[in-house]
Symmetry: C2
Subunit: 295 residues, 2 copies
């Protein structure tokens, strides 16, 4: 006999890269008896129905959330408050409200007061992605072998946390429970600062005179192309990440800038040993990433 | 009847990623009647013979260059002068001396006086690579679809330039002729600065306290892993690049730092529009890279 699905009705609020990938996982493995998508535009609703990755689609968050056992918010952080305010009255007692945002401290601070009594709030962050966005960019294997960080507020029902954890495990993820502030510090260095720097250098190149700019594109294979890929990530999503993780990003940026200044001085002074020493140390960290199967 | 090979004897001085990849191309397509490798250690000589990508191998640059129609230097920039001083007396009249370095102006300035009369000096730079190094890391397809920049000094025989160009074309490359100083400016932004920044941020992470560092490795999938890959490139090769392209790298670094400071201010001030505007502009440059088939 087939296993019963993990959830009855699941509502995915936002079906971009993450939401649509999760929809595909749920469909593939029949993890819910019914999946409803909520998108900002009717065009996106039509698209996800054509893709056959959800059962229903609506532009109304409240209609999507009505009767759902799990509501998963997968929108940019900037519309979280608006979305939760709209759907909160429809959340049934015992429902789980979860989300996938890349920042946790401010998100929890702002959302927790909006969550009705009797609803379980389980914030999470599947650390996976590509530079592509939108429902067509999603794929079921996106999460395979990656980590999902859950940051449950104090006092939340452990059973609800476990059900969200199990959903991500079925998607192929490993689970880590973390404090929201610590999450934001770790992600500031592993994700937010790398994106900030990639956006900056691609912006620096975009400001070059036209002739030079066309050559930058032509000869991008020397390393620059990887930065253009990262800097092609969704602008609104990333705007909201920087606005919401300001303190941790600025702190890591300060450290980075200090290190960059030291390296600048070494280049100016022709200090080959300083350069070679750093370039050798960074290789070790790469080995760690490869060994952890996160390369 | 089979086409005659492009060259009689070819000497590859240095058989790391680039040299060993070129050896594989020459073997695959029989582009030379004889290929000899010169490596720093006997172990590397043994290895390239085992790999069957060259006909002979020696640790003596002069022995490798003796009787060669083409000598291609594929070592780090820092040993160029020493290598050329050693092999110059063996270069036969009409031979071509070429190289593959990532910096052109200082290289040409330092090497040109060492090249004997009657020898054609054709500096070049195949803009291709991976973060891996050594003879085992090479593969014949490395150059496919990428650009090779040649920076021939004034007065060099056009026939010799054309023969080097044809070799790289056979490896799958497109050819661009450029002024050495301009080459160094273009590469400063497309290759040298991206590597410098990647080395810096991975160094910043490596300096974090142990607990945090292990988490950085664990959650590298958020963007950081791409930087660790770039920062795993050969330390000696990259030390020499920064020491030899100092001026252009420092100039691009100044522009980058200015832009980063502006972005830092926007984050601090919560200026979402400034962020979103930049993040949208950088997407356009990515589209250019994809259209140019350099992604």
């Amino acid at each position: 006999m087939a296993e019963p699905p993990l959830f009855g009705r699941v509502a995915l609020i936002g079906v971009g890269l993450i939401g649509s990938s999760l929809a595909r996982v749920i469909k593939r493995d029949s993890l819910a008896s019914e999946v409803v998508a909520c998108a900002r535009t009717q065009a996106t609703c039509d698209r996800v129905l054509e893709l056959e990755i959800v059962d229903h689609a609506t532009t109304d968050p409240a209609a999507a959330a009505a009767g759902a056992d799990l509501v998963m918010i997968c929108t940019p952080l900037g519309v979280y408050a608006e979305v939760v305010a709209a759907l909160a009255p429809e959340l049934k007692p015992g429902a789980i409200l979860s989300e996938v945002g890349s920042v946790k401290y401010t998100v929890i601070r702002d959302l927790a007061p909006l969550v009705p009594d009797g609803v379980h709030f389980v914030p999470g962050h599947p650390v996976a992605g590509t530079e592509r966005s939108g429902p067509e960019a999603g794929f079921a294997e996106l999460f395979q072998g990656r980590w999902c960080i859950l940051t449950p507020p104090e006092g939340v029902d452990p059973g609800a946390v476990e059900r969200v954890a199990e959903l991500w495990r079925r998607a192929g993820m490993m689970i880590e429970i973390m404090d929201p502030e610590h999450h934001d510090q770790v992600l500031a260095i592993t994700s937010h600062l790398p994106h900030l720097i990639a956006y900056t250098i691609v912006g620096t190149a975009a400001d070059l005179e036209e002739q030079m700019k066309s050559e930058v594109i032509k000869f991008a294979a020397g390393g620059f192309r990887d930065f253009t890929r990262i800097a092609a990530s969704d602008p609104v999503m990333w705007r909201d990440i920087f606005l919401n993780n300001r303190e941790a990003v600025l702190e890591m940026l300060d450290r980075f800038t200090e290190d960059l200044t030291a390296l600048q001085r070494a280049i100016r002074g022709g200090e080959g040993e300083v350069l070679q020493d750093l370039f050798t140390r960074t290789r070790e960290l790469r080995r760690g990433v490869i060994e952890a199967k996160q390369a």
